[in-house]
């Protein structure tokens, strides 16, 4: 059974339709990366899935699991609440404190429960946000460029951490990124969005380094970047 099911989904700002997805099904437990140029509608689609776009005009049917967590680009921790209180925001009942401790240990932040968020590094803050997202055992994890603000090294570590935790909790994941390499590192399925439409729906299965390069070229081509330009950019960078 599909965990996420979209039919004739449109969203528009004024006269401009920025999202127009005829149909999309995502299987339970699937890890989907959504890539696309800036302004292609990735965040719009993610916010529609998260139910955060009540004020945006649009139409269509969305079927998503009730238990959803959202991981934002900023860690979005409440600065006046301790790390543990941030993790358990919105949770009730006994055992909430233990759950926080476990979730924090899972992201390698055991013992930081009582710290203020301002005492953590950017990467650590994003790990707290990850703990907050996973502690409520979501069936669907939605992430909008969650590692966009992190340095390359921290980002690689976060990839490994996310892969491990997702393997453990098995939520369905939709992760927005503009980084093809990030998509290839994480996704079982990559969707390329252009002008609000899904123009490529692809399951990369690279076995060798050459495969990986081919996949990379393919995704970049779908994004309108030919390999020549991208390598030249890499060399001059």
């Amino acid at each position: 059974m599909s965990a996420v099911r979209l039919r004739d989904l449109t969203r528009s700002y004024g006269p401009r339709t920025v999202l127009d997805v005829a149909g999309l099904d995502i299987e339970q437990g699937e890890f989907v990366c959504l890539i696309g140029r800036s302004g292609s509608g990735k965040s719009t689609l993610l916010r529609a899935l998260a139910g955060l776009d009540g004020d945006v005009a649009g139409d269509g049917r969305i079927q998503v699991p009730a238990r959803r967590s959202v991981l934002f680009q900023d860690s979005r921790l409440l600065p006046w609440a301790s790390v543990a209180d941030n993790v358990t925001l919105g949770l009730r009942g006994d055992g909430v404190g233990d759950a926080a401790a476990t979730a924090l240990a899972d992201v390698g932040l055991a013992g930081r429960e009582k710290d203020w968020p301002s005492a953590l590094s950017g990467g650590e803050q994003q790990r707290v946000a990850l703990a907050r997202a996973l502690v409520r055992e979501p069936e669907l994890l939605l992430a909008d460029e969650p590692f966009g603000a992190l340095d390359a090294l921290t980002r690689l570590r976060m990839h490994a951490l996310l892969r491990r935790l997702v393997a453990e909790h098995r939520p369905t994941v939709v992760l927005v990124t503009h980084d093809v390499d990030e998509a290839l590192a994480l996704a079982e399925r990559v969707l390329v969005l252009e002008d609000g439409r899904v123009v490529l729906d692809h399951r990369p299965t690279p076995r060798t380094a050459d495969d990986l390069l081919a996949e990379r070229r393919r995704l970049l081509a779908a994004l309108g970047v030919d390999e020549d330009t991208s390598t030249r950019l890499r060399e001059t960078a």
Binding site: L52, R68, D74, R76, P79, L89, G90, D115, S118
Partner: protein
């Protein structure tokens, strides 16, 4: 509660002369905080000039008593036990008015900051009240409430209400929309939203309002205590004016200043502790 707000490193000197070697330091974009000593320089200079002017006869006693005379008078009034009942009477009025005003201001701010209908009902009323000077309300207050204590406390409360309301309301309004989204995605209900996001988010604004309020609650007293009062610092000062005792007037002014500054310092301590989660510049 394991972290403390950032303080300047101990080796940083705070006297006004530090900075002579500042060219070797990193340039700071935010000004260094002045220590208590630095902040005291202005008043100290003013005091010396004042004393010199008095001693040389430049400033006659009937215009303004010299600092030394005022200190002597103040000490006498204190030791004879004449002063304390007046201070107590004023403090009672000021803090009763403060308490009622803070409660009202906070309640109205929450009403107006958290509900649309509340805002429609409350906000413009308070804005109008803000435009009217407190003392201009006294005639009406007397007609409604008489010339007794009730009227005095009510006037103080309505004065105090304004900065509390304005700052708390602004604090609530400025709560980041991103936190509202966060609440939506974490199943935070209305009550929990108020408790864990709205109240802590508006606390800095409320405390700024409180700092203004604690000094403000004293300022209306001088005028209010001209009306049917037999006790209070304002009463003492007005009587002194009738007798031309400028030293007593100075004593009254000093008491106001000390009480105002002490209250402000107290709120700043509370502020520092309550907002210790922030690593900020200055306060």
């Amino acid at each position: 509660m394991t972290t403390t707000p950032i303080r300047p490193a101990p080796e940083v000197r705070h006297d006004a002369l530090a900075g002579a070697d500042s060219h070797v330091r990193l340039r700071r974009l935010a000004p260094r905080q002045l220590g208590a000593l630095g902040l005291g320089i202005g008043p100290l200079v003013a005091l010396v000039v004042w004393q010199v002017a008095s001693s040389t006869g430049l400033l006659p006693e009937q215009q303004l008593a010299s600092p030394l005379t005022a200190v002597t008078t103040g000490w006498e009034m204190l030791t004879t036990g004449e002063l304390l009942p007046h201070v107590a009477a004023s403090a009672r009025r000021a803090y009763l008015g403060l308490g009622i005003g803070v409660a009202l201001g906070l309640g109205l701010a929450l009403l107006s900051g958290l509900t649309r209908s509340g805002e429609a009902a409350v906000d413009s009323l308070v804005q109008i009240k803000r435009a009217i000077p407190t003392l201009a309300l006294i005639p009406l207050a007397i007609l409604w409430l008489g010339i007794g204590e009730t009227m005095k406390v009510a006037v103080i409360a309505t004065a105090v209400l304004v900065p509390i309301y304005l700052n708390t309301h602004a604090g609530l309004r400025s709560i980041d929309q991103r936190y509202v989204e966060l609440a939506q995605t974490t199943d935070v209900g209305r009550a929990e939203f108020i408790r864990r996001i709205a109240l802590p988010g508006s606390l800095p604004g409320f405390l700024t309002g409180l700092r203004l309020a604690v000094t403000m609650c004293w300022t209306s007293l001088v005028v209010l205590e001209q009306i049917n009062a037999t006790e209070g610092i304002g009463y003492v000062m007005n009587r002194a004016r009738d007798f031309g005792q400028t030293d007593v007037i100075v004593v009254g002014l000093v008491i106001y200043a000390v009480l105002g500054l002490a209250s402000d310092a107290l709120v700043r301590v509370v502020q520092g502790r309550a907002l210790s989660y922030r690593k900020g510049m200055g306060s």
